[in-house]
């Protein structure tokens, strides 16, 4: 596996890993930061962290694509808030089964996820976007939408659960 090769300092394995997963990291960072230069910085930072600490990823607990996507989102939000990373990548375990970087399975899964998001009530989708991609707190979302805090919390949690059920009905 490529991550194993990286442990022994194999630069070619890193290049292959980049080919496969750079689009995932860059897309997520760009969605959060809305700026290509800042997204490139996050891309660089995430791959350098993986190069320096490949043991941070535990293949037995989930897919590399899912793990990198969450790490990229968190680092992009840190950059957006101009703060230091809060949680070390060693401590981020992501339960995400399919390794969805490329291929037909990935395309089908992506269609299902995007379909679920499209069919979600607009207010729920907006709450998810604001919390996840814009880095707004629940309180900020409640103030922005004029809705009770409890409603926002419920919308976000049930929205995430709805995505889980798409791939694990």
């Amino acid at each position: 596996m490529m991550v194993s090769a990286i442990r022994s300092g194999d630069e070619q394995a890193m290049a292959e890993l980049y080919s496969r997963y750079s689009g995932v990291i860059y897309s997520v960072a760009l969605r959060v930061l809305g700026e290509t230069a800042a997204a490139e910085d996050v891309l660089q930072e995430v791959f350098m962290q993986l190069w320096r600490n490949p043991d941070a990823f535990d293949a037995s607990r989930g897919s590399l694509a899912g793990w990198l996507a969450v790490i990229a989102r968190n680092r992009a939000i840190d950059a957006l808030r101009k703060r230091r990373p809060e949680v070390d990548i060693d401590d981020v375990v992501v339960s995400c089964e399919p390794d969805m970087a490329r291929g037909a399975d990935w395309s089908r899964a992506l269609d299902k996820i995007r379909g679920a998001l499209t069919s979600m009530p607009p207010l729920q989708r907006a709450a998810l976007d604001m919390a996840f991609f814009e880095g707004l707190s629940h309180t900020e979302i409640a103030e922005k939408t004029g809705e009770p805090l409890g409603t926002i919390k419920t919308r976000i949690r049930t929205g995430l659960l709805a995505l889980r059920k798409v791939l694990n009905p």
Partner: protein, 259 residues
């Protein structure tokens, strides 16, 4: 869903990176001992991964690949573990079992001796750790005193000189750590704030914290998010909108000279 409903909200906020450091520390303590809540957190992060993956589609520019591979080539290489082939098991020693027994006894004595040495080393390390813990506590107490709201600041100036704005930045390049203390800062116009900038020896100024002085004109900036390893040419302060700016939008009102 978690069996600990009282933690469910906090786990979601933790996964999204919304908890304060105190709340985070408290939850992390609970997570260390609660398998169910850890499972809940991992599942939520899995859901977040799906949401994140829904954003895929963009591809980075080619220069990003070159930048990464060039940075990796400059990194110190990790020691590669070389696995030596294991020799075949042989049974030639069986007639000399007595010799093997004697050798085992010698090895055991050596191990016991080594164990005693290790015990002494551990005791030494524990003593060092205690000293370092005390030094850390003293440093924390010092920092708490410096940044305390009721700390009194005294600045000695010439008797006829009115107090001038003054800032002191203490910067550790290796770790990107910065402590900044300011005194006698003039009051700001409405909806404005001071922004501290790290001016690197090469490249654009880097935001190093936004601050508003109190009524007495004092302010502190402790450990703003800075990348490690940036060589600072100097530090400067500009007046910016309250939310801060990514690049300076006004002329510096103060520039540091390294002491």
């Amino acid at each position: 869903m978690s069996v600990h409903e009282q933690f469910a909200d906090d786990i979601l906020l933790y996964a999204l990176g919304e908890l304060t450091s105190a709340q985070r520390a408290e939850l992390e303590k609970h997570l260390q001992t609660c398998v169910d809540c850890r499972h809940d957190l991992e599942q939520l992060r899995g859901d977040m991964a799906l949401l994140a993956l829904s954003a895929t589609g963009a591809e980075p520019p080619l220069r990003s690949r070159e930048r990464l591979m060039s940075a990796i080539a400059k990194e110190p290489r990790r020691a590669q573990l070389v696995q030596r082939p294991q020799p075949q098991r042989r049974v030639w020693w069986r007639p000399f079992a007595w010799a093997a027994g004697a050798a085992a006894a010698i090895v055991i004595m050596l191990l016991l001796h080594q164990n005693a040495n290790l015990q002494r080393s551990i005791a030494g390390l524990e003593a060092d750790s205690t000293v370092q813990q005390q030094q850390l506590t003293q440093a924390k107490d010092m920092m708490a005193s410096l940044t305390s709201a009721d700390a009194e600041h005294f600045i000695l100036v010439g008797s006829k000189t009115p107090p001038q704005p003054q800032g002191k930045a203490i910067y550790v390049r290796r770790s990107g750590t910065l402590v900044f203390l300011a005194n006698n800062m003039p009051a700001l116009p409405p909806q404005k704030a001071y922004e501290l900038w790290l001016i690197p020896t090469a490249g654009a100024p880097i935001p190093a914290g936004v601050f508003k002085p109190g009524a007495s004109g004092n302010a502190t900036v402790i450990n703003p998010p800075l990348p490690a390893g940036i060589e600072a040419k100097t530090f400067a302060i500009t007046v910016e909108p309250e939310a801060g700016s990514a690049v300076p939008t006004s002329q510096p009102i103060m520039v540091a000279a390294q002491s």
